[in-house]
């Protein structure tokens, strides 16, 4: 995260890149399928959500994780380092009927993201689901527990290094034969 430039102000172009990255709320932007995709740093993420909330994005529609373990290369604006995990948040502005998507890079070694539940209480369950499925912890979440898997489950199923089809159906009292 250290080599990432904290782009402050809308006029600051990304360093060392020939292409001037488009920014919005001081955050690099890409367009995907007619929607705006913002790429904040982890430090800038809570501030960006606050800005968006003030701008009219009052409703957080969805939050999910993506594990890019086996597909490291992907389209990102200059200045954004690709990390293993990504947290994707979809916000909606009812007034001017627009959507934005926030893609937040989360490193494998320290998968912690500031929780957005104080601003968007509706992200409560999706953050729990992302924690459950990817092991990404949300700092400040009121009740960060597994939501879909049993609470004594080991591992995070949607990670790419979590095999499928190897695990027999487990009942709580049965002895574990997991690998």
């Amino acid at each position: 995260m250290s080599e990432e430039t904290a782009v402050d102000g809308a006029d600051a172009p990304a360093e060392e890149a020939v292409v001037v990255t488009e920014t919005m709320f001081g955050v690099p932007v890409l367009h995907s399928g007619g929607q705006v995709v913002l790429h904040p740093t982890r430090e800038g993420y809570p501030g960006l959500l606050r800005d968006l909330h003030e701008d009219g994005f009052h409703s957080a529609v969805d939050l999910c994780g993506v594990d890019f373990l086996t597909h490291p290369g992907r389209d990102l604006p200059a200045g954004v380092t690709a990390e293993r995990f990504e947290v994707v948040v979809n916000l909606i502005n009812h007034r001017n009927r627009s959507r934005v998507r926030v893609r937040l890079q989360v490193p494998e070694g320290d998968p912690v993201v500031p929780s957005a539940t104080s601003l968007y209480p509706g992200l409560d369950a999706p953050e729990r689901e992302t924690f459950d499925m990817f092991g990404i912890a949300f700092d400040g979440h009121p009740d960060l527990t597994r939501i879909l898997m049993p609470e004594d489950w080991i591992g995070h199923p949607l990670r790419k290094d979590y095999d499928i089809g190897r695990i027999p159906v487990q009942f709580k009292e049965a002895p574990a034969v997991r690998r």
């Binding site: 995907s32 399928g33 929607q35 995709v37 009052h58 409703s59 957080a60 529609v61 969805d62 999910c64 993506v66 594990d67 086996t70 597909h71 992907r74 389209d75 994707v88 979809n90 009812h94 009927r97 959507r99 998507r101 070694g109 320290d110 998968p111 912690v112 500031p114 539940t117 104080s118 601003l119 968007y120 209480p121 509706g122 992200l123 409560d124 369950a125 999706p126 689901e129 924690f131 499925m133 092991g135 912890a137 700092d139 400040g140 009121p142 009740d143 960060l144 527990t145 597994r146 939501i147 879909l148 898997m149 049993p150 609470e151 080991i154 591992g155 995070h156 199923p157 949607l158 499928i164």
Partner: protein, 442 residues
């Protein structure tokens, strides 16, 4: 805020999912379980909660996962003081089958088979969301006829889904005859869906590139039969339920929510509209050809269980309006895109041409490749915004397939709706949220 994060602990979190006694949970969590939408600091939460703390004994009970009114396997933990619900926490996951993980193993052509099983009361919508996301990644436009077929079929499905709601809502509140009627009419609707898709449920009909098959001969008669039958039956419901004081008493003023709370919690669909907030993706962010058809977005005014019921009843009428317009304006043409990359060749060509045979074989074994990228497409399902987020790595399988299930998000309203209500009202509230547990747990 500093985090003391232990990766090993994150891998094997043993955190309890249950509702626990008041002195164990933090004030913030407690407030959340009381249904507060406002997020406060720990001290602020304690302060805000002070006057609400009950002075005598409370009891935590489980409702579900086998309770008949929980629509499957929803488990609610309720803190009761006498008959009054103080706190509520939905515990879910009993139907979790890892469909998002399964989706990563299936090709784009097999994808609809998987996602259609999520929301089993309105399967065509999940197929539609999935297909539209794939089409956006592929950058293709489906033919006009396919668009209108999709609209016709999803509106039919909306009718059947709302009829199912009518049936179960009636059953939950003791109006058992409503259950029989609702089920009867739903069956008629499903019969039409079966005529077209071959299956009553889990159709796998809407696929990337169009639909699986053209409308069969005589489909107009099937639609007309339904359109003739339903208005009379809906009028019967009206007499049976709206004209019944017990029904109104059980629903009016029960489980009230405001627009602000809905927006904060991300709640969409009939629950949001019941608060008087007019938001329907079909009208506000039109997809398919919804900008070419006429229909009204029905809103309520009190945000209670009765409004949510009345909105769904009225939405059946609106869906019938759209279906009638689909019937009149159904264009001729192809029911799927004629793009060699995505579409298998027609059956007749396979007999004539070796290339067509190979092409057919390749599409069904390898599948088609989708360009790298990511896309999120949302549609209005009977339960709210149904979104599909797909990340493609350029192969024939989605790299990540996530479905934003409206029921999953809408369930978050339960603690809020339940707080201060009676246990008997809890049943009415669950029913009025209309969660489909297959979609909640995926």
């Amino acid at each position: 805020m500093t985090v003391t994060h232990d990766p090993a602990a994150a891998r094997t979190s043993e955190g309890a999912q249950e509702l626990t006694s008041r002195d164990i949970v933090s004030a913030i969590e407690r407030l959340h379980e009381l249904g507060a939408v406002l997020r406060l600091s720990e001290a602020g939460a304690l302060e805000a909660e002070r006057d609400r703390t009950p002075d005598d004994e409370t009891m935590i009970i489980n409702m579900g996962p086998q309770h008949p009114s929980t629509h499957g396997v929803l488990r609610l933990m309720l803190e009761l003081q006498g008959e009054t619900v103080l706190r509520c926490k939905p515990v879910i996951g009993y139907l979790h089958t890892g469909m998002e993980k399964t989706g990563e193993q299936l090709s784009y052509l097999q994808g609809p088979t998987n996602v259609t099983r999520m929301d089993y009361a309105s399967p065509l919508f999940t197929e539609l969301a999935f297909s539209m996301t794939v089409e956006q990644l592929l950058g293709i436009e489906v033919p006009e006829r396919a668009v209108w077929i999709r609209m016709l079929m999803t509106e039919m499905n909306r009718i059947s889904s709302h009829l199912l709601f009518m049936a179960t809502n009636g059953m939950d509140l003791g109006a058992v005859s409503m259950m029989l009627y609702g089920w009867r009419e739903r069956e008629e609707t499903l019969r039409f869906l079966q005529e077209v898709t071959g299956l009553r449920m889990n159709h796998n009909y809407i696929r990337p590139g169009g639909v699986a098959a053209d409308l069969p001969d005589g489909w107009r008669d099937g639609v007309l039969r339904l359109l003739d039958m339903l208005p009379g039956r809906l009028a019967e419901y009206d007499t049976l339920l709206n004209g019944q004081p017990i029904w109104r008493e059980r629903l009016q003023g029960v489980g009230v929510i405001t627009t602000e709370e809905c927006l904060a919690l991300g709640i969409t669909g009939p629950i949001l509209r019941s608060t008087g907030y007019s938001w329907d993706l079909r009208r506000d962010m039109p997809y398919l050809a919804y900008d070419e058809v006429e229909f009204d977005v029905v809103v309520g005014s009190y945000g209670d269980a009765f409004d949510r019921y009345a909105i769904r009843l009225a939405e059946i009428h609106e869906s019938m309006r759209i279906v009638r317009q689909c019937l009149e304006r159904m264009p001729a043409g192809d029911y799927r895109i004629q793009d060699k990359k995505v579409t298998p060749p027609p059956r007749a060509r396979i007999d004539e041409s070796m290339e067509a045979l190979i092409h057919h074989f390749k599409i069904f074994t390898e599948g088609f490749k989708v360009p790298e990228g990511e896309a999120y497409v949302a549609i209005e399902s009977p339960r709210g915004e149904l979104g599909c987020y797909i990340v493609s790595d350029g192969s024939a399988n989605p790299y990540r397939m996530h479905v934003r299930a409206p029921s999953f998000i809408n369930l978050q309203s339960l603690p809020h709706l339940m707080h201060g209500g009676l246990v008997a009202d809890a049943v009415a509230i669950i029913s009025s949220v209309d969660p489909i547990l297959g979609e909640v747990d995926r």
